[in-house]
């Protein structure tokens, strides 16, 4: 059975498999609880607790952020680790260490830098401060308004890339060096892990923790949630920037 | 099994336990005597061999495992010793290191491991369906557990017995014997065919009589199939040996057929036939070791491996060929010598067993194969002593005395056990009765 026949058979098999899969799933979804009805199984005491007692207990008006960073914090710690580990994998793959001379970089055309088109650089220079401010606002008010560490971090990451394209590699690398990346990411994640293991330990063993809720509504009201939001934002933005620089240049600074 | 010695106990189901019963003691004596005689022979034969230290190390380790096997008190210990005896006896086959010997050793290992795995399957089932684990005459299967699924157990019984018979060279799994013997050094092949095949027979005896129990297997398709297989081997072994020119391969084929004599006696599940089988175990060990040591002596002194080269060798090597002839007569079953009594009991036991066709077909095949045995053994002696005028007589000198002494002892044994067989037969009859 030569190659084409095998590929055709594989293609036919896959399409048939997918069609069967879609039909089975449509059949099951049809049997599932209807959309939006108030008495669905998932509108139960868990959801009620998160929406009603959540804000008082955690001080976060945004119930989703309260749930993510206080009740299901172990999940979100896993989340940040997923980001961290994927950054490590990208380093393993793309980072060119030390001895790679300039011509290898040119050979893989990783020295490519867009010619600085005046219109773009001027608009970027106008946009960069606004985007930074917006990102920081989203992160800081994560527990009071929609947003939080992940979305704020993504916006700050995007702002960093804008800065890189506006001011070019040399200026960016003056402050975005490899040491900075490693130290800041490690500090943020270590703070996150240590803070959360403290709350896990005290919670599980029934000790009372200092984490007060403060008066819900103003910035410092949500105990640990604000610092954790900042850490998550730092990790997310750093990861986005490092992945971009790895694919583009294979390293932080040469 | 009177009192048990537990070497290692993991749980009630898994333990290494040893206990001496009649059967075990008989096999232990047989192994020990054979090992001493062949050992004396090997001390002289080792001048032809490289790596002699390695050979004797594995020679003794195999003896250790054989002794442990005969003393094993439960299925697990027996399987463990059987497996290690295979692994330790394999280096003796590849002693010369030639590519053929490596191929033969690998074939030997593959057949034995295949057989042992089937035996392992038997252990799993006996562990699950058995009342206890120690060998008990009449079988250790718990009737309550066995009630529903006899057919399943019969299949497993057939597979495990067929597995162990791989070592005893029964028909479907016999191919390793004719390839292993020509390449192995003479003492190794003497021990391999004389005693190690009997280990397979011992395992089959234990499994048939002391795990499943004679009553469980009597009259079933398993017994009939096994008897048919053994008869095929008996006939096929003698036919193949008849046409074989390489002396050691001829003797290997004769081993295949003679051990199946024993298996035929074991499978008929009748005390007298079992007595015949046990007697034949002893007689065949003595005779086959004598034959192989004779063949080894011929190879050692005059480097002649083919039967056609031995015309007139009897005059040059009178003692060797004398013992060779005595052993051949014993194997054929001529009355005053050892072989006759065992074949007699085998035939008597099979006839009184009453299985429809097989009870008379068995003795007929045995008789026919006895004639064939005469056909492939006597010409060696006849041409050896009375070569025709025409052919050129082979030159050569007699083997050294250290090699002749074991052959003489064995030949003497064939005569003694032939004539004064009654005490031996009574002892073995008691063992045979105790098995049911």
């Amino acid at each position: 059975m030569n190659k084409e026949k095998r590929d055709r058979l594989y293609a036919v098999l896959c399409t048939v498999l997918t069609i069967v899969f879609i039909s089975v799933m449509l059949f099951t979804v049809e049997k599932m609880p209807d959309l939006g009805r108030a008495d669905n199984p998932d509108i139960n005491e868990v959801m009620e607790f998160y929406v009603e007692e959540g804000p008082e207990e955690t001080g976060a008006l945004n119930a989703v952020t309260g749930m993510i960073l206080h009740y299901r914090a172990f999940d979100t710690l896993g989340e940040s680790c997923v980001l961290f580990v994927s950054a490590v994998c990208v380093f393993i793959l793309l980072r060119i260490d030390g001895e790679a001379s300039n011509d290898t970089l040119v050979a893989i055309d990783r020295r490519y830098e867009p010619t600085d088109d005046p219109i773009l650089t001027q608009t970027f220079k106008l946009l960069v401060p606004a985007v930074f401010m917006f990102g920081i606002y989203i992160t800081m008010n994560g527990h009071l308004s929609p947003g939080g560490g992940f979305s704020g971090g993504a916006i700050i990451g995007a702002a960093l890339l804008l800065f890189l394209n506006a001011y070019g590699l040399e200026k960016t690398e003056r402050f975005m060096s490899s040491q900075l990346y490693r130290r800041v990411t490690t500090m943020a994640l270590c703070f996150y892990a240590v803070a959360k293991s403290y709350t896990f330990y005290t919670g599980a063993n029934g000790l009372d923790s200092f984490e007060g809720a403060g008066t819900p509504g103003n910035i410092l009201s949500a105990g640990l949630i604000l610092p954790l939001n900042i850490c998550v934002a730092v990790v997310v933005s750093m990861t986005i920037y490092s992945m971009y620089i790895m694919i583009r240049k294979g390293g932080f600074n040469k | 099994m009177t009192q048990l010695f537990t070497l290692l106990k993991i749980s009630d189901g898994l333990a290494i336990q040893f206990g001496a019963d009649g059967l075990g003691r008989m096999f232990l004596c047989l192994d020990t005597v054979m090992w001493i005689l062949v050992g004396i022979y090997a001390f002289k034969y080792k001048e032809h061999m490289k790596h002699t230290k390695r050979f004797f190390a594995f020679y003794l380790l195999t003896y250790l495992m054989l002794a442990a096997l005969s003393m094993a008190a439960n299925y697990l210990t027996m399987y463990l010793c059987f497996e290690f005896m295979t692994l330790l006896s394999m280096p003796m086959v590849l002693q010369d290191g030639t590519p053929e010997s490596i191929a033969a050793a690998r074939k030997y290992l593959m057949y034995s491991i295949f057989g042992a795995t089937l035996g392992l399957l038997g252990f799993f089932f006996s562990a699950h369906y058995g009342a206890g684990t120690v060998f008990t005459p009449g079988g250790l299967l718990d009737p309550a557990k066995v009630a529903g699924n006899e057919s399943k157990l019969l299949v497993v019984a057939f597979l495990s017995i067929a597995g162990f018979s791989a070592k005893a060279g029964m028909f479907p799994l016999h191919a390793w014997l004719p390839t292993a013997h020509p390449v192995a050094p003479a003492p190794a092949s003497a021990v391999l065919s004389g005693v190690i095949t009997k280990a397979g027979v011992l395992c089959i005896l234990r499994v048939m009589y002391q795990v499943y129990g004679a009553s469980f297997l009597a009259g079933t398709w398993v017994q009939k199939a096994l008897i048919v297989l053994s008869l095929i081997t008996v006939f096929m072994g003698s036919m193949m040996a008849y046409g074989e020119d390489l002396l050691k391969r001829r003797l290997a084929y004769s081993t295949v057929s003679q051990v199946s004599y024993v298996l035929f006696g074991v499978f008929t599940l009748h005390p007298v036939a079992l007595l015949g089988a046990l007697l034949h175990v002893i007689y065949h060990s003595i005779i086959k070791d004598g034959l192989f040591l004779g063949a080894g002596a011929v190879i050692f002194t005059n480097h002649k491996e083919y039967v056609s080269q031995l015309h007139g060798m009897g005059k040059r090597m009178p003692v060797t060929f004398g013992c060779f002839t005595v052993c051949s007569l014993g194997l054929i079953g001529i009355p005053p010598f050892a072989g006759f009594l065992s074949k007699w009991y085998l035939a008597a036991g099979s006839l009184s067993e009453g299985l429809p066709v097989l009870s008379w077909l068995g003795p007929a095949v045995l008789l026919l194969s006895a004639l064939l045995t005469a056909g492939y053994l006597l010409p060696i002696s006849i041409h050896g002593f009375f070569p025709g005028e025409g052919e050129k007589e082979a030159e050569g000198k007699e083997a050294p005395f250290q090699m002749l002494f074991p052959m003489l002892v064995l030949a003497l044994g064939v005569v003694v056990f032939g004539v004064f067989a009654q005490p031996l037969a009574d002892a073995l009859l008691r063992i045979a009765e105790a098995m049911f």
């Binding site: 997918t18 509108i43 929406v51 749930m67 299901r72 990208v90 | -």
Partner: protein, 130 residues
Amino acid sequence: MSVFFANLPEYAAMILFGIGLSNLMLAKNLVKKIIGLNIMDTSVYLFLAAKGYVENSVAPIVSASDLGHIEHTLYTNPVPAGLVLTGIVVSVSVTAVLLSLIVRLNEEFHTLDIDEIIHILRKRDREDLK
């Protein structure tokens, strides 16, 4: 008829999942496989978001004033929203690793077809054996 349209977003999600799955299995080009993967994951998040929706309700962000007496039926379910957030981060990181793998594979084999890459590797094996 209303029953059919009751779960419209879930139907869309399942069909999208099927499309993503088939794309992931059938596409020759690796980048297309990654696109298929993203379609698959996004469809799951659509399914989750649809599960959290409660008719005429608002996002679960309470105002400071009515902290004491919150009526949970007015708000949508926050749990699926949290799961979607986590899921999106997982998809982002997995896609990043896959894309960097594709960059390295392209540098090494100069092709984006995984079957061709395997073919090249098998040829390398055969040369070593000779």
